[in-house]
């Protein structure tokens, strides 16, 4: 053998950090959605400091005060008051805690469980896969709202029940998507190579399959947070969600719905808050998807 180094002669290694990622080129950070999300997250964390008053404090003399920019509005209640004279701004600020926590906690629970099911099903294949996927199909065919209503009626509405009801259904989506990805990965040589190198099921799932599904998982999680916020709001709207007096955006919309013509802000402002947050999460999710893997269009 010649002692001289063979082909693939030492080229200077391209510096990963310095070179712009081709996928990200021309696609700047989604400043608007990141901004909205950051603001709402800060508001939720700092609610006790930012809230101008007690969100539960009633003042029947000050019912249906309009926001400050409208005729009859006052600077004491910047966003007006609801039918019990409670300060709208305080309620929206505190309500952000409910919505964001519900969104994040539910999605984390659902994605952890769903991803685990998808990984196991895709890795083992055969009977294990068939059984797990039929359970997934059955779960997906069950309406979230119905389950939440049943829980609300039988156990009583609570934050935990909302999270559980949504997560118990939502995991199926993750299981299906992740399993599909795992099936593709299983056909690739590096999995076979890992097996031949003596790796067991646990090692292959955690070291080889899971890291390769992270892109998909991050995109799906981001997109689903918006969805969960909407579902939580719908449940609260129906009275099966976060029980009063905790301020939740969904129940606020519901409380104001009889007065939309005379006092639109009671329903409209929490509605706007939901719209902004969900839109921001969806835009961020879309951006992540396009940046991380343009092939994930179907998500």
């Amino acid at each position: 053998m010649p002692a001289e180094p063979l082909a693939d002669r030492a080229l200077p290694l391209p510096d990963v950090a310095a070179r712009p990622d081709p996928a990200a080129r021309g696609r700047r950070l989604p400043v608007v959605s990141l901004g909205i999300i950051t603001i709402f997250v800060l508001v939720a964390i700092l609610a006790p400091l930012l809230s101008p008053g007690d969100p539960g404090e009633q003042s029947l003399r000050n019912r249906f005060k309009p926001p400050v920019w409208m005729e009859g509005g006052s600077s004491r209640h910047l966003l007006g008051t609801d039918r019990l004279g409670r300060d709208m701004l305080s309620r929206i600020v505190w309500g952000s805690r409910v919505s964001l926590t519900a969104g994040v906690v539910t999605v984390l629970l659902a994605s952890a469980f769903g991803a685990a099911v998808g990984l196991v099903a895709g890795y083992h294949g055969g009977t294990v896969d068939a059984v797990l996927m039929r359970v997934t199909d059955a779960t997906m065919s069950f309406p979230v709202i119905l389950l939440a209503l049943i829980l609300a009626v039988t156990v009583g509405p609570s934050f935990t029940n909302v999270v559980v009801a949504i997560a118990v259904i939502l995991w199926a989506r993750y299981a299906r998507v992740i399993r599909g990805q795992v099936l593709t990965l299983m056909g690739l040589d590096f999995i076979a190579q890992a097996r031949i190198a003596g790796a067991g099921a646990w090692r292959i799932i955690t070291r080889h399959l899971f890291p390769n599904t992270l892109n998909t998982l991050v995109v799906l999680v981001t997109l689903q947070i918006g969805y969960v916020i909407i579902v939580e709001a719908s449940l609260s709207f129906l009275g099966a969600g976060i029980p009063p007096p905790t301020p939740a955006w969904g129940s606020m919309i519901s409380e104001g719905r009889e007065f939309v013509t005379s006092a639109w802000w009671v329903s409209g402002l929490p509605g706007l808050a939901i719209l902004l947050v969900v839109l921001a999460f969806n835009l961020l999710g879309d951006w992540l998807r396009d940046t991380l893997d343009p092939k994930l269009r179907q998500l």
């Binding site: 082909a7 590096f190 097996r195 031949i196 003596g198 890291p211």
Partner: protein, 326 residues
């Protein structure tokens, strides 16, 4: 010849499909000694890869089963081992290099993380020693500036380079037997030649027994000591590489050799082997090559030929080689 590292005797692996049971590996026997290279040649679907996957018991499940035969590694029977015991043999004793360099490395981890993994697993190395050994391992497969390459990700490397990394991981133990399943098919010719040289070098250094799966007879003549030609799950001819190339005994081997284009040969057309590879679910009785064989005899269609001596160290499963009066 020295003591065999791997001895395969009458190995049978069946695949259960909805079209019936396929005898993917049908009574295969061979052995490979330390420092020796056995070429496993045959068309696609002839059972080369299934044979090798059967050795490490990683044939696709639940469809396939090893139904009989024995595989001995340094005298140790593998077919009766538990899955946990097999996991300690895979990689440590028997390593394998697969053919697709584009997907043989995990895309999300750096080369360093992937090369360190087998070293940590087999030798329990940690920390700086581990990184040092990983770099040394890359250097041993002639990867330039190995310390820098450890930080690279697979997508930053060329196909030839990745295949070297895979080679480095395969010899991390180092194993007793290295199975190379068409490792050079997707590399271009110059890189191919270099990679073969590298494999020979690694083999010499670690006294590896090597099984080289390929359908490229040129590669066989270059690096193999002995050749086994597979057809429809059986080894139809086996022998020293020189004998197989100069005096092929089986009509299938002869046909294979005639279908190689030769530089300077004044033939008008290349000879192709008539007919299609057999449907393994519906093999004819008798010799499975009989329907395509130019020298077929009545006996071939009814009776499967056993192995006949065809020369020094050369055997052929063909009635043509039957001793007279046999």
């Amino acid at each position: 010849m020295s003591v065999p590292v791997i001895e395969v005797h009458d190995l049978r692996t069946h695949l259960v499909t909805r079209w019936g049971t396929i005898k993917a590996v049908d009574g295969v026997s061979f052995s490979v000694a330390e420092g020796e290279t056995l070429g496993l040649v045959g068309e696609s679907g002839s059972g080369k890869s299934m044979t090798c996957l059967s050795l490490v018991r990683l044939t696709p499940r639940p469809a396939s089963h090893i139904v009989g035969g024995s595989v001995r590694l340094d005298g140790d029977e593998l077919t009766t081992k538990t899955e946990a015991e097999m996991q300690r043999i895979r990689g440590r004793k028997i390593a394998m290099i697969l053919q697709d360099p584009m997907s043989s490395l995990n895309p999300v981890f750096s080369v360093g993380m992937q090369v360190r993994e087998p070293l940590a697993m087999y030798h329990g190395l940690r920390g700086a020693t581990l990184t040092e050994r990983a770099a040394a391992l890359l250097a041993s497969v002639r990867i330039p500036s190995p310390a820098a390459r450890l930080r690279a990700f697979p997508y930053q490397l060329s196909g030839g380079m990745r295949q070297r990394v895979v080679g480095a991981m395969a010899i991390a133990a180092p194993p007793r037997l290295l199975i190379a399943d068409e490792p050079t098919t997707s590399l271009d010719l110059t890189i191919q030649a270099q990679y073969l040289g590298l494999l020979e070098e690694l083999q010499d250094r670690h006294r590896l027994a090597m099984i080289f799966i390929t359908h490229n007879l040129g590669i066989v003549s270059r690096i193999c000591d002995r050749v086994a030609v597979m057809y429809a799950g059986r080894i139809v001819e086996a022998g020293p590489v020189r004998r197989i190339f100069t005096a092929p005994a089986h009509p299938y081997t002869q046909a294979l050799l005639e279908s190689i284009p030769r530089l300077g040969a004044r033939t008008e057309r290349l000879t192709a082997i008539e007919g299609q590879p057999p449907d393994l679910a519906r093999l004819p009785g008798g010799c499975s090559f009989a329907p395509r064989c130019p020298q077929v005899m009545d006996r071939c269609r009814t009776e499967a030929p056993p192995e006949f001596e065809a020369g020094p160290g050369q055997v052929s499963r063909c009635w043509l080689r039957a001793p007279a009066g046999g």
